[in-house]
Structure formats: structure tokens, C-alpha cells
């Protein structure tokens, strides 16, 4: 009869694990702000007690390249680019028909994204949209997840302003990176909208003056009733067109703040949980941050895909 195993470990190992987890929980509660409030000053050594968290919204500069400040978030985005390129190179270096483990992992991700693109945008458009959408997805995902690796934010270095700053910080927490991605996605959507079916047909969605001028023409020619109705509907059409154009512009703002707010909010949340009770309270929120990073990457790429599909679909005349 095989030995009884709890969660894959034998009984002594389980006891050791439970004791270690309990000890860590007690130490973390004591050294965080909760313990300090409940039990007063216990004289714990400096390296255990947690100081007040210092939240920094604008990213700190690290060094200058001829007048251009390189911030720690820019450095982190370079790191994630290097990681992505290295991963792709390592997998395609010796690509096999029966894939190795890393190759099948990447194939799973790529195939999932391709199915999403083809499901939403149709067969032909799905393949055309696939490169940019998958790039956006992988870039946002690796930016978010690399920031969660232990030790990522721990390296301190002297910054440009003199005080100690973190060497690396998650790239999505700097508002410039989500803004850049939102502008890229906007240009992507507008380009494919203008390219499909000619530029004028796409712009007619926003500048919809046809009905208005038709109505004015009818008024001039003497058909009063049809003319007035035409002018009225035309005015509504112009207004709706302007509103659609405005909502295209506002999309940039909403993409930016959705990604920035989720990532910065998550960072501040984990910071506060570290302040309250360093190890035990931070673990559930770490899991939440993993999920939020994945969901935000899917949402950014998926929403860009949906808007691009709407832009290339011919506009059915409702009236």
C-alpha cells in the first residue's frame, strides 16, 4: 500500500511546511503596520519592520542620453522587449514538426490569439489584424507580468535627481506607455478603416452631410415638406457623425486610463498590503495582480480588434 500523501508531500514534510507558513505569517503580521499598531514598539530589528510606503506616480529618471531622460519604466519596457525577442528566437531556432515543450507553449498562445482574431474579424481580416493585435497583447502581458517577478523592483540605484530610485518599474505604470499603445491602436484602426473600400466612404461616417444638402436642394426647388424633413434629418445626421468622430478620439483617452489605472492601482494596492503585513496579506493580491495583468492585456488587444472590425465592416444604411 503506498504511503499516504498530503498534497503530494509525505507527513513530516507537511508538518514542516505548515510550521514555516505559520511562522512567516506571525513574523509578517508583527513587522507590518498591523502588528506595530496592535502591540506597540517591540524593538524588532530594522531590516524586518516595514517603513511607510512612498508612492511615486511620475517615473523616476535613471540616466540621460544626450538630453533625453531614460526612466526606470522605459528600462523595464526594454527588458520585456528583450525577453520577448529572446523567447521567440529560442523557440524558432530549431523549429520541429513535433514541438518541444517551449515551442508548444508558444504555439498555444499564438493559436489562441489567431482564433480570437478570426472569430471576431472573419477569416481574411482576422489574418490581416493578427500581427499588431498579438504584439499589443504580448507586450502588455509581459510588461505586467515581468513586474511581478520577485526582485524586479528591489534593485536601487542613484537616480538623476540624487536620491535612491528603483532601477526597474513595471512599464504599464508610467502613463506614457499606455498612451503610446492607445495612439498606435488608434492609428491601426483608422488606417484599416480608410484602406477598406476607399478613404471617402470611411470618412462619410463622420461627416454625414449628404442628407442635409439633399434636403436644402429640395427646399430650394420648392418641395417644402420633403425639404424640411430632409434638412431636419440631415442636421441629426451631422450631429451623430460628429459624435462618432468624438467617440473615436475619446477612445485614446479611455484605453490609456483603463490600462494605466488598473496597473497603477494594482501597484499601489500591493504596496499598501506590504505595508500592512508584508508576506501574508500580499499573496492573495499577488494572485489578483496576475489575473488583472492577463485580463487587461486581453481587453486592450480585444477592444482594438473589435474597433478595427467595426471600422472595416461596411456601414449598413439604417434609413
Amino acid at each position: 500500500m503506498p504511503k499516504r500523501r498530503f498534497l503530494g508531500c509525505s507527513f513530516p514534510v507537511l508538518i514542516v511546511l505548515v510550521v514555516v507558513v505559520l511562522a512567516l505569517t506571525v513574523i509578517s503580521i508583527l513587522s507590518g503596520a498591523l502588528g506595530q499598531a496592535l502591540l506597540g514598539d517591540m524593538g524588532l530589528p530594522d531590516w524586518i519592520t516595514v517603513g511607510r510606503p512612498h508612492v511615486q506616480l511620475p517615473a523616476d529618471g535613471i540616466f540621460h542620453i544626450s538630453g533625453f531622460t531614460v526612466t526606470n519604466t522605459l528600462l523595464a519596457s526594454w527588458v520585456s522587449i528583450i525577453v520577448l525577442v529572446a523567447l521567440a528566437w529560442a523557440v524558432t531556432r530549431r523549429i520541429k514538426l513535433i514541438p518541444s515543450r517551449l515551442q508548444s507553449l508558444l504555439e498555444f498562445a499564438i493559436e489562441w490569439m489567431l482564433n480570437l482574431c478570426v472569430d471576431v474579424a472573419g477569416e481574411k481580416n482576422g489574418r490581416r489584424f493578427f500581427p499588431v493585435i498579438t504584439t499589443i497583447f504580448l507586450f502588455v502581458l509581459f510588461n505586467a507580468w515581468l513586474g511581478l517577478i520577485p526582485g524586479f523592483g528591489s534593485i536601487l540605484i542613484g537616480g538623476t535627481e540624487g536620491h535612491q530610485v528603483h532601477l526597474l518599474r513595471g512599464a504599464n505604470t508610467d502613463i506614457n506607455m499606455p498612451l503610446a499603445l492607445a495612439i498606435v491602436s488608434f492609428i491601426f484602426v483608422e488606417y484599416f478603416g480608410l484602406r477598406s473600400g476607399g478613404g471617402l466612404r470611411y470618412l462619410k461616417k463622420f461627416i454625414n452631410v449628404g442628407q442635409f444638402f439633399r434636403g436644402a436642394g429640395q427646399l430650394i426647388r420648392g418641395k417644402v415638406r420633403a425639404g424640411v424633413v430632409g434638412v431636419g434629418m440631415g442636421a441629426i445626421d451631422i450631429f451623430v457623425g460628429l459624435l462618432e468622430g468624438l467617440s473615436e478620439m475619446v477612445r485614446i483617452v479611455s484605453f490609456t486610463f483603463r490600462l494605466f489605472g488598473n496597473m497603477t492601482g494594482g501597484e499601489i494596492l500591493i504596496l499598501m498590503m506590504f505595508f500592512l503585513a508584508p508576506w501574508v496579506l500580499a499573496i492573495p493580491f499577488y494572485g489578483l495582480e496576475l489575473l488583472v495583468g492577463l485580463v487587461q492585456a486581453i481587453v486592450f488587444a480585444g477592444l482594438t480588434l473589435v474597433f478595427a472590425t467595426i471600422a472595416v465592416t461596411p456601414h449598413e444604411e439604417a434609413h
Binding site: 508612492v55 506616480l57 480570437l116 472569430d119 479611455s254 486610463f257 483603463r258 494605466f260 489605472g261 488598473n262 497603477t264 492601482g265 499601489i268 485580463v295 487587461q296 486581453i298 481587453v299 480585444g302 477592444l303 473589435v306
Partner: protein, 76 residues
């Protein structure tokens, strides 16, 4: 009441009131998705994908409120 206290109060109110609408909205999206899933369990893939997208749209408004609160506390 000095400015510092007002800022903290405003941050709390911004996030508090700003979370009511999106909370109800996300719940409604979940209701629709679960009802659709109950009627047609085979359409699980498209239902879940569209549900995630709709939840992200609804939650973005709560994130705007969070950004306002964070800016009030740490920047302004």
C-alpha cells in the same frame, strides 16, 4: 476644514461614489452572461469572451474614479 483634509475627503468620496455604478454594471453583465450560459451551455466560448470585454468596458469607469482619487491624494 483645511485643504489637506478636503483633499482626503474628496478622494474618499470620489472612489466611493464612483464605484456604485460600475459595480451594478458589472453585476448586470454577469447576470446576462450567466443567463445566456444557462440557456445554451455550448456557446461557452463566445459568451465568456464577450463577457470579459463588456466587464472591462464597465470597469473602466471605476478605474477613472480611482485615477481621480489617486491624483487627489498623491499629486494635487
Amino acid at each position: 476644514m483645511d485643504a489637506e483634509t478636503m483633499k482626503l475627503l474628496a478622494a474618499g468620496l470620489a472612489m466611493g461614489f464612483g464605484a456604485i455604478g460600475p459595480g451594478i454594471g458589472v453585476g448586470l453583465v454577469g447576470l446576462g452572461a450567466l443567463q445566456a450560459l444557462g440557456r445554451n451551455p455550448e456557446a461557452r466560448g463566445p459568451i465568456m469572451t464577450n463577457m470579459i470585454l463588456a466587464i472591462a468596458f464597465a470597469e473602466a469607469v471605476a478605474i477613472y474614479a480611482l485615477v481621480v482619487a489617486v491624483v487627489l491624494i498623491f499629486v494635487a
